[in-house]
Every structure is written in structure tokens, then in C-alpha cells.
């Protein structure tokens, strides 16, 4: 299968390419987020023996639109003792980076806004900016629940960046490039097979970074009401809501690109393959959310530092050694080795965990 290494000869030069793609990506991302909101609610409802939204439009697909209209008509409430400027700025700071991630996501060969040669590094950098917005929201609300939620968010993102980045490095080693395009093209074997442990660590870490269950304790509704966006209403709340799903979409897209072979696949159109894989990953996220309870903040930290971090390091070392000693050989040989390594390591590390700890003497 031959593919263009760089964006194809786009008629009209750089600025036209830029303008068209910004509009297309924005529309695509917004439409997909809407679709995902509907998809999550429906899939979750069916798994919970309910129906889910089914009134607005056929099968309720227009429900997110209706929600959007409702939310725009709502009163915008700012706490009297809150920091008004920061309170206003926070949703924007959170929302923009979530959207900027899509600049480097390759939807198919060449269909990419900017094929940065440091694509994945850019994603890692830009996605952490959202946390600043979240912390601003928690601080500016002048609400104890909001502050607790924001603190949890900062703590978890700081911890989970490390295993996530380390597991990305494994992929980069195999692909030999930081460019998202090149990473996809390097995947003659999807990296989920070559990097099973890396995939597991990345997926867990990513779930924690985007606040999805079982790591949704920044907005744990049963504990701290709604976390950092307790004091938000109207369009500002909607922006946080969009951030949540935008990040979920971004993570699904990144997992697809890094581990599932991006747009590559037989028979179907490339962008269709990409979409199918993204929806599949998102379904897994929803499925996990439907099933598992939430973990506690200290357990979250313990998982990051005692489980994910050492395993990510070991994974990195093993990958590096493999590439060093087996530079030209068939990569298929590595698949069973890596899967075996993953099973052994996960079983081994699980033995270190105990139950019933966490009480503090007061």
C-alpha cells in the first residue's frame, strides 16, 4: 500500500490548506463530539436496561443539539465572592487546547492540518494546558467542592503524564519518528501487538488524564457534587462539558493513531477506518465507565507511581533492547515475546498491592 508521506499537493498553497482544514476539523470535531455525547448516553442506557434519549430527532440523535440550545438560554451565574475574570476565562483556557489537539491528528493519509515532526510531543504538551483551565475554574469558584476537585485534577494529571509519556516513547522508538503521520505509516503491524504493555499503560493513564471512570474523581458526583464545575452554569458549563468529550474524542483518536494503525485497514476508505476505530475505542471507554466503581485519590496516586510508572520504565527498557538486538529482523517474532512479558509483569506487580490501607491517624 503506497501512501503520500507528506500532505498531498493541495491546490492553492499553504493558507488555503490551512483555512479549509481549520474549518473542516472544527466542524468535524464539533459534530463528532455531539455524536459521541449521544452515543455514550445511548450505549450506556442500553447497557443499563434503559432506553436513553430517544425523543429529539430519530433515535434521539438531536438530543445534544437540544441540550445545547437549552444550555445557551440558561442564566450565567457567577459566585458573588468568586474571582470573576478567572471564572470567565477558565472555560476558554480549558476548551481551546482540547480543540488544538486535533491539529496533528491524521484522519487519513495526508488529511492533517499540520504534519509536525514533533506531533506527539505537541499533543502531550498541549493537552496538559487544559488542567490549568480546570484549576482556574476550581480556584475562581470560591467553593470548597470546586477546589477539592481541581486539586485532585492537578495531582492526577501531574502523576499520570509520566507513565503516559513513557509509554508513548516506546511507540516512538518503534516508529522512529515523532510525527503522527510517520507513526501510522510505520505500523505494518499495529503497535497494540508490539507494545501490549505500553497500550495498557497508555490507556489507563489516558483515562485518568481525561477524567473518565474509574478515574473520574475530579467530578465525582457522589462525593464532591460536580467537582470543579460545581459553580458553572449556562454556556460556560457547556464548554466544560465539551472539553470532557473533546478530550475523550482526542484520546480515542490518539490511541487509534498510536496503537491501532490509524487510518490503515483493508477494503474500506481510510477515513472510515479511522472513524470506526475511534468509535470502537470510545465504546470501550463508555463500557468501562458503565461497569466499574471509582477509585480513591490516594489509590489513584499509588496506581500511578507504584504500578504504571515502574512498568512503563521496564517497558521502555525492554523495547529499547529489542530494537537494539533485533534491528532488522521480522517484528512478528516480538509479538509473542511482548505479550508474555506483559502478562508476567502485570501478574508480578499486582502482588505488591494490599487491601484496606489508607487510614490516617488523626
Amino acid at each position: 500500500m503506497t501512501m503520500a508521506a507528506l500532505p498531498p499537493d493541495w491546490p492553492g498553497g499553504f493558507w488555503l490548506h490551512w483555512g479549509v482544514f481549520v474549518v473542516v476539523i472544527f466542524v468535524f470535531v464539533m459534530a463528532t463530539i455531539m455524536g459521541f455525547i449521544w452515543f455514550e448516553r445511548r450505549a450506556m442506557a442500553i447497557m443499563q436496561a434503559r432506553l436513553g434519549p430517544n425523543r429529539a430527532g430519530p433515535f434521539g440523535v438531536l438530543q445534544p443539539v437540544a441540550d445545547g440550545i437549552k444550555v445557551m438560554l440558561k442564566e450565567d451565574i457567577v459566585p458573588a465572592k468568586g474571582d470573576k475574570v478567572v471564572h470567565w476565562l477558565a472555560p476558554v483556557v480549558a476548551f481551546v487546547p482540547a480543540l488544538m489537539i486535533f491539529a496533528v491528528v491524521p484522519f487519513q493519509g495526508g488529511a492533517i492540518l499540520a504534519d509536525l515532526n514533533i506531533g506527539i510531543l505537541y499533543i502531550v504538551a498541549i493537552s496538559s494546558v487544559t488542567t490549568v483551565g480546570v484549576f482556574m475554574a476550581g480556584w475562581a469558584s470560591n467553593n470548597k467542592y470546586s477546589l477539592l476537585g481541581a486539586m485532585r485534577q492537578v495531582a492526577s494529571v501531574v502523576s499520570y503524564e509520566i507513565p503516559v509519556v513513557l509509554s508513548i516513547v516506546g511507540v516512538v522508538l518503534l516508529a522512529g519518528s515523532l510525527s503522527m503521520q510517520q507513526i501510522v505509516m510505520a505500523q505494518d503491524i499495529p503497535f497494540i501487538l508490539l507494545q501490549p504493555l505500553g497500550f495498557l499503560l497508555f490507556f489507563i493513564g489516558a483515562l485518568a488524564e481525561i477524567n473518565r471512570a474509574p478515574f473520574d474523581l475530579m467530578e465525582a458526583d457522589s462525593e464532591i457534587v460536580a467537582g470543579f464545575h460545581t459553580e458553572y452554569s449556562g454556556m460556560k458549563f457547556a464548554l466544560f462539558y465539551l472539553v470532557e468529550y473533546g478530550e475523550a474524542l482526542a484520546i480515542s483518536a490518539i490511541v487509534t493513531t498510536l496503537f491501532l494503525g490509524g487510518w490503515r485497514g483493508p477494503l474500506l476508505l481510510p477515513w472510515l477506518w479511522f472513524l470506526i476505530k475511534v468509535i470502537l475505542v470510545f465504546f470501550v471507554i463508555v463500557w468501562i465507565r458503565t461497569t466499574v466503581p471509582r477509585i480513591r485519590i490516594d489509590q489513584l496516586m499509588a496506581l500511578a507511581w507504584k504500578f504504571l510508572f515502574p512498568l512503563a520504565l521496564i517497558n521502555l527498557i525492554i523495547t529499547a533492547v529489542e530494537i537494539l538486538v533485533w534491528p532488522a529482523g521480522s517484528l512478528w517474532v516480538l509479538v509473542p515475546i511482548n505479550i508474555a512479558v506483559m502478562i508476567v509483569l502485570v501478574l508480578l506487580w499486582s502482588r505488591f498491592f494490599k487491601l484496606g490501607w489508607g487510614k490516617v491517624e488523626v
Binding site: 450505549a43 442506557a45 442500553i46 447497557m47 443499563q48 436496561a49 434503559r50 432506553l51 463500557w287 468501562i288 458503565t290 461497569t291 466499574v292 502485570v346 501478574l347 499486582s350 502482588r351 498491592f353 494490599k354 487491601l355 484496606g356
Partner: protein, 165 residues
């Protein structure tokens, strides 16, 4: 306590939720889809039978909320009490059904309907004419087995939940 479970429990849980994709939802879409209520439903609003009522006021004495008001006068020609006023403030009624059970002449019934919301509180106070049975206001079988036998059978979720799609 040692903890060596390796994610088996989570996998089991995931298998349960995924299997529900193939199971039929149990939701009833209420305004369009209605289930038959129980034959003995203690539905909205009392139904009063003027002919059978003797004005003995047992119901008023039994009512724990004290919402039934009866005023009677003695009618010497007919040699019986005449009910001048029979008024129920259904806004205070808790639908316990004790009055229906207590009525010695079987002149009171619970209603079979369940959606009788009103816009004003005043409309909740029902007097003689408003309490009689009509097509809209059917009596239910509560404490009246003979009426219960004529009503449609209750739909049970037990029968409705048929598992696989």
C-alpha cells in the same frame, strides 16, 4: 490483606454489562405506552355513591387526615338522614383507603384513575356532584372484590421483562 486478583473481577463485570446490549430494555414510554394498574389501585379521588350513603359519617371518623366533611339533616318524612354536604379535600387526602374499608354500606370507592393534576388548589376540593362515579371516574377494586373482577389484569414487569432481544 493480600490482593491478587489481576483484573478478573473487572472482566466479569464487563461481561455482564456487555450482555445487556442484547437484552431488551424494561423502560415504559409513559404517555404513549401505558401499563394496566393494579385492580386494587388506590387511585386518585374518592368515588361516592349517593344512593347507598346513609350519612353515618363513619368515613369521616376513620379518616386519619380529617379531610371528609359530612353535614346531615334528619328527614322525618323519609325516616332517615339526608346528606346535605359531602366534601373531600383531596389535596390533603393521603389515599390510605381506610374510609373505603370502613364504610359499612359500601358507598365509597377509591378511584381507578391516576393522573388528575389540577391547576388550582380550590379545584382539589370535591363536593357531592364532583364525587360521583362517571365514565371518567371509574371506581377501583380496593376493598370491593366484585369490582376488581371486572377490571383488566395488571401488567407485571415480571412478565414484561422477557430477557433477550
Amino acid at each position: 490483606m493480600k490482593f491478587e486478583r489481576y483484573g478478573i473481577g473487572i472482566a466479569k463485570g464487563l461481561s455482564v454489562t456487555i450482555r445487556h446490549l442484547l437484552r431488551r430494555p424494561v423502560t415504559t414510554q409513559y404517555p404513549e405506552q401505558r401499563l394496566n394498574t393494579s385492580r386494587r389501585i388506590r387511585g386518585n379521588e374518592l368515588i361516592w355513591d349517593r344512593e347507598k350513603c346513609t350519612g353515618c359519617a363513619t368515613c369521616a371518623k376513620t379518616c386519619p387526615q380529617g379531610v371528609i366533611h359530612i353535614v346531615t339533616s334528619v328527614s322525618i318524612e323519609e325516616n332517615k338522614y339526608k346528606v346535605e354536604k359531602f366534601e373531600v379535600d383531596t389535596g390533603y387526602c393521603i389515599f390510605c383507603g381506610l374510609c373505603v374499608e370502613a364504610c359499612p354500606y359500601e358507598a365509597l370507592f377509591m378511584g381507578y384513575a391516576y393522573e388528575r393534576a389540577r391547576y388550582r388548589r380550590g379545584e382539589l376540593v370535591l363536593a357531592e356532584e364532583g364525587l360521583l362515579a362517571s365514565d371518567e371516574r371509574k371506581p377501583s377494586g380496593y376493598a370491593h372484590p366484585e369490582i376488581a373482577a371486572t377490571l383488566p389484569k395488571q401488567t407485571l414487569l415480571l412478565d414484561k421483562d422477557r430477557g433477550k432481544r
